[in-house]
Symmetry: C2
Subunit: 661 residues, 2 copies
Amino acid sequence: MSELMKFEIKKRDAAGRICSLKTRHGTVTTPTLLPVINPNKMIIKPKEMKRLFGTEIIITNSYIINKHPELRAQALAEGIHKLIDFDGPIMTDSGTFQSYVYGDIDIDPLGIVTFQRDIDCDIGTILDVFGTPDQTKNEAENAVKCTVERAKQSVPLKEDMLLACPVQGSIFPDLRTTCAKELGKLNADIHPIGGIVPLMEQQRYLDLARIILASKRGLPIERPVHLFGAGHPVVFPLAVSLGCDLFDSSAYVKYAMEDRMIFPGGTSYLQKLEEIPCCCPVCSSYTASELLKVEKTKRIRLLSEHNLYISFEEIRKIRNAISEGTLWELVEQKASENPLLHDAMEELTKTKNNRWLEQFEPIVKSRALFYTGHHTTYRPEITRMYDRLFQWYHVSSDVIVLLSESAKPYHLSYENVISDIFSVCPEAEVVVDSMMGPVPIAIDEIYPFAQSVFPLYVDKDTKKVGTERLSVFLKGKKVIKWNGKRTLKELEKYSHFIKPISQDERRLRSVATMQFGPDAAETLFDGTLRIVKSKNTRKIRNVYCNDEHIVSMRAADGMFTLKLAGAKRIHKRFPSPRFRVIVDTDAVPFVQQGKSVFSKFVYDADNLLRPFDECIIVDTQDKLLAVGRCLLNRLEMRSFSSGQAVKTREYVNDDTLVIMQ
Amino acid sequence: MSELMKFEIKKRDAAGRICSLKTRHGTVTTPTLLPVINPNKMIIKPKEMKRLFGTEIIITNSYIINKHPELRAQALAEGIHKLIDFDGPIMTDSGTFQSYVYGDIDIDPLGIVTFQRDIDCDIGTILDVFGTPDQTKNEAENAVKCTVERAKQSVPLKEDMLLACPVQGSIFPDLRTTCAKELGKLNADIHPIGGIVPLMEQQRYLDLARIILASKRGLPIERPVHLFGAGHPVVFPLAVSLGCDLFDSSAYVKYAMEDRMIFPGGTSYLQKLEEIPCCCPVCSSYTASELLKVEKTKRIRLLSEHNLYISFEEIRKIRNAISEGTLWELVEQKASENPLLHDAMEELTKTKNNRWLEQFEPIVKSRALFYTGHHTTYRPEITRMYDRLFQWYHVSSDVIVLLSESAKPYHLSYENVISDIFSVCPEAEVVVDSMMGPVPIAIDEIYPFAQSVFPLYVDKDTKKVGTERLSVFLKGKKVIKWNGKRTLKELEKYSHFIKPISQDERRLRSVATMQFGPDAAETLFDGTLRIVKSKNTRKIRNVYCNDEHIVSMRAADGMFTLKLAGAKRIHKRFPSPRFRVIVDTDAVPFVQQGKSVFSKFVYDADNLLRPFDECIIVDTQDKLLAVGRCLLNRLEMRSFSSGQAVKTREYVNDDTLVIMQ
């Protein structure tokens, strides 16, 4: 990847990310939309777009410029920024789409790359071979081969232009992945996913999701991904949630010419609208019937504005959702508006895709998870916790008392019941039969068990998945459904009074297990425990062991913040690379001053770490340097050359503990 | 109801309606929102609201005006329109909510009504007794009694002011219905549903839905219903779909004062927004961080504007959805954003509520029905057709060949299969096992069987309901799943070759049965049939019997338009009131000139008629006058004193047939 481009993750949710993308003409925040500019006819000038919609980057077509002698001459003489009259980043396409639409047109694959370079494009695109959805696999394979070959030949020509090499492969996921891998080996900068337009036209969103997933699987994670030709907001949230960063839109003006208005969930003909369901500046100034009376040229301009207002609103909606941790909710809502998008969601529930998504999914979020329909229970945040519950969680007893769904947190709404149960059978495992599945009472405060909102009545798919999870958990156990005094009597028979540890200690140990794995609790809490609770909320706040501050419990998500004393225990007990982010020697002095770890300096990391997980920072000799919070997963830490990987919290300095503010 | 108010249905969908509401100060289109104006402090003046948001009607508080000597004096001297500086309709509240919030305050229940009248309010409100959700049933009953008593005393005082009498009854549906019925007997004009604010604050949308349904069941259908104190767009679509017409919002300014921004699906603190997911004129001019820097007073103004832009956008969204016939989709999408709204949707799937809704549901719509999740299969348009399928449809044979879900219309995607089947067993009933349930091939073109979009993979609730519907339909039949030649061989055994009627004729008869009932087909098509088809689409267009034009088939929804010759047959065969709209003697000359029937002149009508159903128009002696299309159901035709009830299509004039253009 070119040193001219810096691409770094700022915020994240699902497999989506807010990144900054640096180009020679300025830095862009992604995900974003690149309006397509026709160099021959600008309905809205790029400068105006910047002012009206906050447009940061635009895309135009180098093939068209090259074909028109005047434009070509001016571009070569003065550069594309003057030609287009825009001082921000400009991307160009190469004529691939024109080849697809108009058939065999005369473009020199390497000539068009050097032309883009010579007219000073920020991002140029190779002349790839457009793969249509009706290609045979053989045809698609040849298109991929040719695309990769041209990419190989084009890369050496790019000089200081960023080069976009599109992934092709028609609707064949394996070809997409292969193509992505091949292109990923080259010194390319950006990867469009090509051949999308016919799928968008046919609303084949299931194929779209499959193609994005297959491409992302093969592509280097640190490169921006551009969904080429997908300019309708209907697909933006889904595409971003799967890791797309850039979109381009020519639809805004094409539709405007046909009197079609873009809305977040679809497109409508102006003529068919009694009232316009929009409050953008255009629609706040004109009613539908007034707009129809506006002279055609002006109307095209007004509708183009409307279409871009809506498109950029959707981009902001997505970025805001990423910041809030509610991107999945946005994706699912959108799917509920469109049955074909719904099918794409179904694809994400498949185990293979779910596991791929899980590695990018933040371990905690600042907002509660909202049920939006029958796909919710498959969200990676939930499937992950059930994997851990089945694989890591230590069930305290062979006797399980089952409580029914109730207000959250469960241990407070069932306070008296639990106290009664433990008085006769202190080792009993008390579990709530929740909408998601079983929730042991000792971990009822961790994300997303407490931080989730489900309706009173859920759909049958959710119920079925919940029941299946419950039956896995209960397998081989004696299960008693809570039924008041009768249950207590029955419980007496089963009690061996073998584990008289406090509820608080059980909570500590159980949370540690769910957060750090099966052996973490005994390491962290080995010694004399002192638990400090909040007087107001009665929640656990700080945990000391042998008078060392081991962890704090976060009120918001119920998980632990690891303190340096805790980190030392973890470091001692678990061999590398477990829990580690290993930094290059160059970075050691900085970490020892409490500076954050930049991914550029990450030597390696634990593959189990997830975004926002607690981690310990060590040097290549496995010397403990600090404790912090991951912002990236291992794949990302190793791949990104720009941006923070870990936020350092406390560091070891000359054997003195220093706490960062 | 006062003669000063005219309230008439213009468009409709679900139990929602677009109406015009005439007042002394102008006509208002409902559903709409009345911004609350504080007479002491107008953040945005009503005149500006009209210009910025298209506000047509506002609401202010007569209690506050009455309490302030200066305001009181000015209002009495110059009238409220001068005081507020607004020449459109003004509604006033009476202080009920203030009594609820501040406890026992001194308001004279009748004095406040005469005061409202004397200051020239367009719509005044009685001093009802606010019913809180935590009331005991006894307390709620007393509040209802007192409210009804005060309404009785207030009505004679109203003179030319329209009077709003709120329905109370806490969260007890039976009390709400009783209260509504009692108030409905009085000469009141508008019925707010009161006691809503605490439910909105607690997001108790299930209770809200129950209360609206219970109130609507008791209220006269021809009076506007105002959901008092529900000012957040999150509930607008649901409330409108259940028949609410008016909303008021003080939230727009209350929230603005706390830096809270209203969005279609919820509310956010400005401080918590990284980017504002909105493109209203305010949010297109300011970023979140810029807004935070604006001086407080100006910020309140700007956020109030934003909140009203969004609120009125939602009103337009709803009205547009009603025009398009997509109101349910909008309601269901909204529910997918909010688990508590989801519970309200669940309530609508109950048979009792579903049947109440069905009577208002248009028989056909101009747009396809979209699957939005597991509630879709319970939509009244679908449950109605299955009721008819089970009760009316005539199954042609004991042998049913079952085809799997496919592209629509089914008879075209299965063209060869069907032809093969009929060649060996012409009487076989060919049925598609669709996502909704069984769809006999002969009715596969009628709404919503062909006009619906489902995903490839539907949820388990939908599957279960579909399977149940299928098993009801198949009960007692020999069922053969289509399996190519093997099926054909098996079918041969069962064929008696007893019904060699054409597929076209079967389609005609089956559609007639589903649209008009079990005996309609033999009446309509008794004689020599001639079927005229479209050359392009091969669809049936016109049907003649004994050379009389009986019906046309509409391409869009697959149902029949009744021609006068068909109407005559229906009229002869079925006794009154079946299929009839009976008009008063006064209206006969107008209908005989082809004028539409106004509900004011409807004497009675067939209870089975649904909006957009075909009907025959007769006089009180059951003389056939015309044939037309219902715009209202019987309840509405008999209740509304304003607006059209039936659009006349062809009429009998001196025994000469005249066709309206």
